[in-house]
Amino acid sequence: MASVTFQEVTRSFAPGERPAVDRLDLEVQDGEFLVVVGPSGCGKSTSLRMLAGLEPVTSGRVLIDGVDVTGRRARDRDVAMVFQSYALYPNMTAGENMAFALKNLGVSKADISTRVAEAARVLQLEDLLDRKPAKMSGGQRQRVAMGRAIVRDPKVFCMDEPLSNLDAKLRVSTRAEIANLQKRLGTTTVYVTHDQTEAMTMGDRVAVLRAGQLQQIGSPTELYERPVNTFVAGFIGSPSINLIDSVPVRDGRAVLTDSLQIPVPGAAGRAADRVTVGIRPEGADVVGAGAGNPGDAGRLPVRVARVERLGSETFAFVDPVGLVAGSTGRADHLVFRLDKRLDVREGSELVLTVHSAEVLVFDAAGSALS
């Protein structure tokens, strides 16, 4: 068990080009499960590989347990990695795959067999120990890859999208298994994914990366409710937050329609000319027929363009009616989550009441106002 620290870590592949990872500062506590998330090409895998020792660091320092390991080889860092493709040794059985590292480290035979047996028990791999990877299913291979990491009892686990090759159902169950396993073992874990559901459900904290730069790090709830900028707001949450650009500010309120005016927080925000407003899909309710009229404060009349029914919930893609001139939604439509019992059809008109306390306001550059 150990803490992990990135100090101004930069990795550039070619001089003159934008670095893949740009002065990354990150602190992972002992025993913490940190999820690093971002779109492809954001530098999340590169960061992980620099921690594992598979990628050289251009500048900055990587510390494990307070010790500078920047110049150390992968094998001397006591870090185990689970690869996206599992990377099992095809010529070895599951048991041999798990024992390989221990053998290389000079662990005694008796010790190896107890540790492999223990890992196999935890991961329910006992029946597969004599089987080679080619004769296993994807989920089984994934578990062997996990087993190979945990038998070593390393200081840090590095996981590079370990679930992305599993089918959707297996992914959900394995997600929980990995999170439970990590809690039980208490090993510091850095987990890279592009899947924001994994990020929200698995990690103690989540770090969002974009173009090699750390955007925000915090608990999943923090990222969801208080994103620092429109990128984080748009990346976390599914379906994405509704962002409306160039909303004019009048008397300290962002004016979306005549009826819907959101108070802009912060002095700088109130002084701004135009802001970006973000409304989560669950941030509005449908007003029942006859309850007040569309002109009441906080009301947003919309026209339904498309409806997606998922069984448990319904998503309505809508166009706002009477949006103030100059403001535009970033996506084609605004999306709102509705009660599945509600009978909504394409073309019908609804009146929504927006929970203005949950509405996020960003300045023109995209940073959150508070």
């Binding site: 185990a80 040794y89 080619a134």
Partner: protein, 303 residues
């Protein structure tokens, strides 16, 4: 090699069998009868070009001397005779040449495969300054025909006093540019994650080579071994220059010798000697080729 390969076979077969089926079935269904006939004609032509000289060698070795020259040609020896084969042994010291060939080919194959694997591993996986320069040298040496260096090699080896010795024949032939190049490219085609996983699993370079890289490389390695054996078994020019007598000369030189002693028109014993020279290689080829199967990385990585 032989201990490992049979274990690997069944699973590679199971994993491979579903995938090749659709591509081979599809063009078969689409092709018209005409193009299929054309395809078979092409195959037949290739078989004739390859097999006819071999068949000719075989029947000539089984014919009596006057029958070899009959016009029109006879395609089946009449009568069959094995006399040419016994003449091979009496004409020249065939067993001596055979022994020399085995020594030279074995030593050269072991040396070349070892050097080839080690140098390819270094060029593919180890990071050291001047790596690309070394690779460039290796590739450049592939571009130089052997005959060009014969004279300077001869001068050097003669100076060392190695004429008519095995060292003199073997050492100048032991360079492995082709093997290095072939194996390096193969190593680079292996899934990168597995090499990285081995690195994380604290495998040193030799362990990585022996336990991780080579088990995924047997088909390529065996192909390289076969090519090396055939090339070295057939070496002619350099041994001819180096060896003076049957104490060091290999079979191809012995065959030429046989032609001199048997008389320039007496092809029967020469053809019989040729058949005997080909046999060991044929056996080795048949033994090794069944291990040249693909799919050893099956199950290693996904996606």
């Amino acid at each position: 090699m032989t201990a490992l390969a049979p274990q690997d076979r069944p699973e590679s077969r199971t994993s491979d069998s579903p995938s090749p089926a659709p591509p081979s079935a599809a063009p078969h269904e689409r092709s018209s009868p005409l193009s299929r006939v054309g395809g078979y004609l092409g195959l037949l032509l290739v078989i004739l070009v390859v097999a006819l000289p071999l068949y000719w060698i075989l029947i000539s070795s089984l014919k009596e001397r006057p029958d070899i020259y009959t016009v029109p040609v006879t395609w089946v020896p009449d009568p069959f005779t094995a006399a040419n084969y016994s003449r091979v042994g009496t004409g020249v010291a065939f067993t001596d040449y055979l022994r020399n060939s085995i020594i030279i080919t074995t030593v050269l194959t072991v040396v070349e495969v070892t050097l080839g694997v080690l140098s390819a591993f270094a060029l593919a996986f180890l990071r050291f300054p001047g790596r690309s320069l070394v690779l460039l040298f290796v590739i450049a040496s592939l571009m130089v025909p052997n005959q060009v260096t014969v004279i300077s090699n001869y001068a050097l080896v003669a100076q060392l006093g190695w004429r008519n010795t095995f060292a003199g024949i073997i050492v100048p032939l032991a360079g492995v540019a082709f093997g290095t190049f072939l194996l390096r490219n193969h190593f680079l085609s292996l899934p990168k994650e597995i090499i990285e996983a081995a690195e994380m699993d604290a495998a040193g370079p030799l362990k990585m080579l022996w336990r991780v890289v080579l088990p995924m490389s047997w088909p390529t390695l065996i192909a390289f071994v076969l090519i090396t054996i055939v090339t070295e078994w057939n070496q002619y020019l350099w041994p001819l220059l180096m060896a003076d007598d049957s104490s060091t000369a290999p079979l191809p030189v012995g065959l030429a010798q046989l032609q001199d002693t048997a008389g320039l028109t007496n092809w029967g014993p020469v053809m019989a000697g040729t058949v005997l020279t080909m046999l060991p290689i044929l056996v080795i080829f048949l033994l090794l080729q069944r291990h040249m199967i693909k799919g050893l990385t099956a199950g290693a990585v996904k996606g």
